[in-house]
């Protein structure tokens, strides 16, 4: 008996040690974000030489980096933030609505065309963006899809594969009897979809929605190639061009903008953490 107590005690001690090590690793894990906060409030000249120094009377810049930052690189940061927000929300909405409709139709009608479309969707998931980037941007140009108001159509097209794949996986698990009952009660296909099927898709809608939000919000290459960047920039484009457009970069102002760019992401994460982690695990099938 004493031996068992001894092993339990050593096991408990082991867990405490693991906890402490994990806590230390966690602190290291957030240091890069801490460094962004630290340097966002430092004068430019100190960012490179005293990156890890704490604030003092000499290097502390207050809000001045944020003030220079928003009009930095001849482009207004708030405009980029507005375009990013608009494109993300509209693209995600279009993908959720049209891909869930398509997935339901594909599963229930199951004709030869449906199968072709479904397999094309799966195929599109393994195609890297570089394969289509040149032709996609020239197609988007020709069709005048090169503005923030129309680029969601491009996102719908390029993002349809994963979304349809995930929705089809879920619709297959819904018993068709429910829809039959709705049809006996006089519901046509359109009403059946919107009032019976769509509410049941809730958890998949959240998962897919989160994946699309993360993708579109952080995406750099597609918008930079499709949009006319002299007029329209998203946040990632804006940050990339801070470096490109200036000979010398104002690192303090850059860090201020990066901080403003990641705060909404972190708030979003902390608010919907449960759904985000579940959604990411569900989307892991994508290559």
């Amino acid at each position: 008996m004493p031996e068992r107590i001894k092993t339990l005690a050593s096991k408990h001690r082991g867990l405490v040690v693991v906890s402490v090590i994990m806590a230390i690793v966690c602190v290291i894990w957030v240091l890069p974000v801490a460094a962004v906060i630290l340097n966002a409030f430092k004068w430019n000249t100190f960012v490179k030489t005293d990156t890890f120094a704490l604030w003092n009377a000499e290097n502390f810049a207050g809000w001045s980096n944020f003030i220079t930052g928003v009009t930095f690189g001849n482009y207004n940061f708030w405009l980029a933030a507005w375009y990013s927000t608009f494109i993300t929300i509209v693209s995600t909405f279009l993908i959720l609505l049209f891909c869930s409709m398509a997935a339901w139709y594909i599963t229930r009608v199951d004709s030869i065309w449906c199968k072709i479309i479904y397999y094309l969707c799966i195929f599109s998931m393994v195609v890297p963006f570089q394969m289509v980037m040149f032709t996609l941007s020239s197609t988007a140009d020709q069709l005048k899809l090169n503005t923030p108001w129309t680029i969601p159509i491009v996102y719908l097209g390029f993002g349809a594969g994963l979304a349809i794949f995930m929705f089809v996986g879920f619709v297959k698990s819904i018993p068709v009897e429910i829809e039959e009952a709705a049809s006996i009660d006089g519901c046509g296909p359109v009403r059946t979809f919107f009032f019976v099927v769509l509410p049941m898709l809730r958890s998949t809608l959240i998962s897919v929605g989160i994946l699309e939000i993360m993708w579109v919000w952080n995406d750099y290459l597609l918008p930079v190639l499709v949009l006319d960047i002299n007029q329209y920039r998203t946040i990632p484009i804006h940050i990339q061009y801070l470096k490109g457009s200036y000979g010398t970069v104002d690192l303090g102002a850059t860090m201020a903008l990066i901080l403003m760019a990641i705060i909404p992401v972190i708030v979003f994460y902390l608010a919907c953490q449960k759904y985000i982690i579940a959604g990411v695990a569900a989307g892991a099938v994508k290559g």
Binding site: A35, L156, L251
Partner: protein, 299 residues
């Protein structure tokens, strides 16, 4: 019988709504994927500056792409980066997941923190880390842009910071699905914790390991934003023939630079590189599919 008749009548009633349900996606899918893909394949056999002036030249572009030293270099560089990051990310992610599924204090908080970098976009990640690396390296009078080895390990660190939390989530799900009675049986039989780990736990999480290995491999091959923002391919070396090779430039960035920063005359070559790149990445995806199918059949 009555049931299937009913299902059939629903099906034919639904079928009429093709344009409403499938129309928008099909139209966007053709614009955003099908047409650019077909045109991309065709253009890889052409000389072109813009899509309208394409002139068919056969497989010349492929020959030029495959013999381009910059393309060859970036292929090996990408393979090395992908494999090194794959090993480090998966070993660390599995270790963290394994420790977090023990009953330790604060496991949820740790999980939240480890996953957080995954939400930050590649461009922003690259600039955060280039500030940090240069902050450290300025003490030694160098920069991440000046040293190929530093650039390599810098990128590996960025990839680890971003992806460990992601893979950790998949491993945690796998570890939680290991049957508790199997672990108990091992304990009663007097297995050491190492024996339990290698003989019971790891064989049971093989599906998660497969997913994570392929995910980190394809992530590595497709990496673009982080590469562009951290080093942009710097530093470069000058070849005897006067051309340059960016020594930290991965495949995706090489293709991009061949399209947009070299002379527009090399766009055919760039498109051929893109097709080769597609075959490579799609091959990895198909290998994963075949492998998981085979395992499912065996089980």
């Amino acid at each position: 019988m009555a049931k299937s008749l009913k299902a059939n009548s629903i099906r034919s009633a639904t079928r009429r709504w093709f344009w409403l349900f499938l129309g928008p996606v099909v139209a966007a899918f053709i614009i955003g994927f099908v047409w650019p893909f077909i045109q991309g394949i065709y253009l890889s056999f052409c000389n072109f500056r813009i899509t309208a002036d394409a002139e068919f030249v056969g497989i010349d572009n492929y020959g030029r792409a495959l013999s381009d030293p910059a393309f060859q270099y970036s292929f090996w560089y990408t393979a090395l980066t992908a494999i090194v990051s794959l090993v480090i990310i998966n070993v660390l992610a599995f270790t963290v997941a394994y420790l977090l599924t023990k009953k330790i204090r604060g496991a949820n908080l740790f999980r939240t923190v480890f996953f957080m970098p995954n939400l930050i976009g590649g461009i922003v990640l690259g600039y955060i880390w280039s500030m940090i690396f240069d902050g450290i390296l300025s003490a030694y009078n160098t920069s991440i842009l000046l040293d190929t080895t530093l650039g390599f390990w810098g990128l590996i660190i960025v990839m680890c910071w971003q992806q460990i939390g992601y893979m950790m989530i998949i491993y945690i799900a796998g570890l939680q699905a290991v049957p508790a009675d199997m672990l108990e049986a091992a304990e009663i039989d007097g297995a050491t914790s190492m024996q339990t780990l290698f003989k019971v736990t790891i064989p049971n999480v093989m599906p998660s390991i497969t997913i994570c290995v392929f995910l980190s491999l394809t992530n590595g091959f497709k990496l673009f934003d982080q590469n562009l923002a951290l080093t942009g391919g710097q530093p470069y070396i000058i070849q005897p023939d006067g051309s340059t090779i960016n020594t930290t430039q991965m495949l995706a960035l090489t293709i991009y630079n061949t399209f947009y920063t070299s002379s527009t005359a090399s766009r055919g070559t760039a498109q051929a590189m893109a097709v080769i790149f597609f075959v490579l990445v799609a091959g990895l995806g198909l290998a994963q599919l075949a492998y998981t199918r085979k395992r499912e059949v065996q089980q």
